[in-house]
Symmetry: C2
Amino acid sequence: MTNRFSFTIHASSGKARTGTIRMKRGDIRTPAFMPVGTAATVKAMKPETVRGIGADIILGNTYHLMLRPGAERVARLGGLHKFMNWPRPILTDSGGYQVMSLSDLRKITEEGVTFASHLDGSRHLLTPERSMEIQRLLGSDIVMAFDECPKIEQGRDAIARSMEMSMRWARRSRAGFDSGGEHAESAALFGIQQGALDAGLRRESADALRDIGFDGYAIGGLAVGEGQAAMFATLDFAPAMLPEDRPRYLMGVGKPDDLVGAVERGVDMFDCVLPSRSGRNGQGFTHAGPINLRNARHAEDTGPLDPRCSCDVCANYSRAYLHHLHKSGEILGAMLLTEHNLAFYQQLMAGMRAAIAEDRFAVFAADFRRDYFAGR
Amino acid sequence: MTNRFSFTIHASSGKARTGTIRMKRGDIRTPAFMPVGTAATVKAMKPETVRGIGADIILGNTYHLMLRPGAERVARLGGLHKFMNWPRPILTDSGGYQVMSLSDLRKITEEGVTFASHLDGSRHLLTPERSMEIQRLLGSDIVMAFDECPKIEQGRDAIARSMEMSMRWARRSRAGFDSGGEHAESAALFGIQQGALDAGLRRESADALRDIGFDGYAIGGLAVGEGQAAMFATLDFAPAMLPEDRPRYLMGVGKPDDLVGAVERGVDMFDCVLPSRSGRNGQGFTHAGPINLRNARHAEDTGPLDPRCSCDVCANYSRAYLHHLHKSGEILGAMLLTEHNLAFYQQLMAGMRAAIAEDRFAVFAADFRRDYFAGR
């Protein structure tokens, strides 16, 4: 039990913190960015490359995996880690967000969500109890409570009702997780704060979660179209409502400047499809801002994608070559740009961790923004 | 000049030979299989992985590269090796075959072939001289003479006229290559025997090529739909018409059993898109024959793709996982299956080289066929 889950904060700088989460499958250095491995693969990357760029933990999507290949099948095959050849920690989401954004014919009741698969139209019911069971069958290291992520434009009353139901679901998630036997003794469970942009609702949600008790706490319901200013305004108060000594995870975020601003406000963990999805679409992140490799101006550029990047892609390939691969629709173009983008994100996290350890985060953040927005 | 090109035969077993081609960018162990890197990438593989599975040399396609990114552009960017991060030998074809199979609006004259690009419809003229120039601009290590590959059903007269023109083009290729200055002093030039299935025409073609003189000799015009029996019948006499002390390269071949049968008949080099294209389409090669990973019978198979294979894919992933990736259309599915298939081919070549060195090729070939066709 001693190596089930611990979080140690080594240093802080302003509200920013750096620390280590210890779990049986490995340590997670925070602030941490988790590459998204939706369907049991971080798209276009071999797992050893994901590890090679410095990722300590990846994310798997319950919604996708329950539909294909199926949670029971993954369990019969020995669990998600063995299936996808990733021996380190995996965090799985609860399926709630993707059910709302991807599936057809959704019906939400107190019991859970009934929906039709986007793959074959088959009907499914996802409840807090079933979400816990699926995440247990997958063998998840960090299990997320099942919640509803309401649309931000619904208004305070609807958001309040949704948050209150999510808190009842959080309690059912806790009970479902705790009844998981051996898995509950080795994995961790995170609750998810809701309440959109409203400080009062965020406070109510945080209090409900603290009352139940979780290993870590996520900030949900952001990065859903409210814009960076509104997100940062919410992050000015939301993290401090959550227990100081537990990791805080901002779900589905974000752009490099989002990460810096969120760490500045006390967030410890992130996940986002942006670096990998952008990589497949020809967008590369650099210290001087994002660039589109498909643009003709890169066609004869022998320089690296980002001269300040230490990844293998920047060491061995030119912008001209990446341009050629993306113009030609070559798989290697998606592979190399995904690798670079995720390496860029890991380097950004490592830079933030070092700056926090040396209590110079404000200077790091100012320097980052100066360079990143210089081209604007 | 001493390290420009040499071919040493170490051992033979029946008609099969094993040896080493030495060039300034590295050694090529024969019999050799060259992965195809059409558009400056072996599709879905990083170059270090291509090397890691044992490839000594890859092939680049003049037709694709002249159209995109363009030979002059590749030259300005420092040549194909630097562009694609492959420092070892590259063989480039002449463009003749792809012009006939891929482009639109072809017109063949004694001068060369006028065609329209399959990418944008732009008009181009490819001649022996221009083909040599393009291969020089790319920085090719083994340059192929420009030839015409006639359809096998055209009849003897048309094939004879085509072969005779290809021999005149071979002489012009030799002259064009030799006028290439520094490149001609470091690269090698191979001639291509034509004549379809006709022993008389193959003899005339071989004599014409020997008269011109080349570093190596390819057998062209096969694997174009004639079937394995007709191909083997031709290979019963064609290789022996070519100089004994020079490498013999059978272009565009083939299936694993094609390779074994061709080595058995005295062939030293091969290239084919089959292992990489099959890999992207879900077909995996094994010692017990090819299998389709998309088939539902693999969905819960925890075993490796090929238990006799020593590649990283077979060491770390199950058939069930490969099935899932290919059913889900994941890029990693193409990556892993391409890697396995090309590793399987390299292991097959290594097995043949060892069997020849120990003068037990007939037994090796019989064992291979027994296992490979056991499932039929």
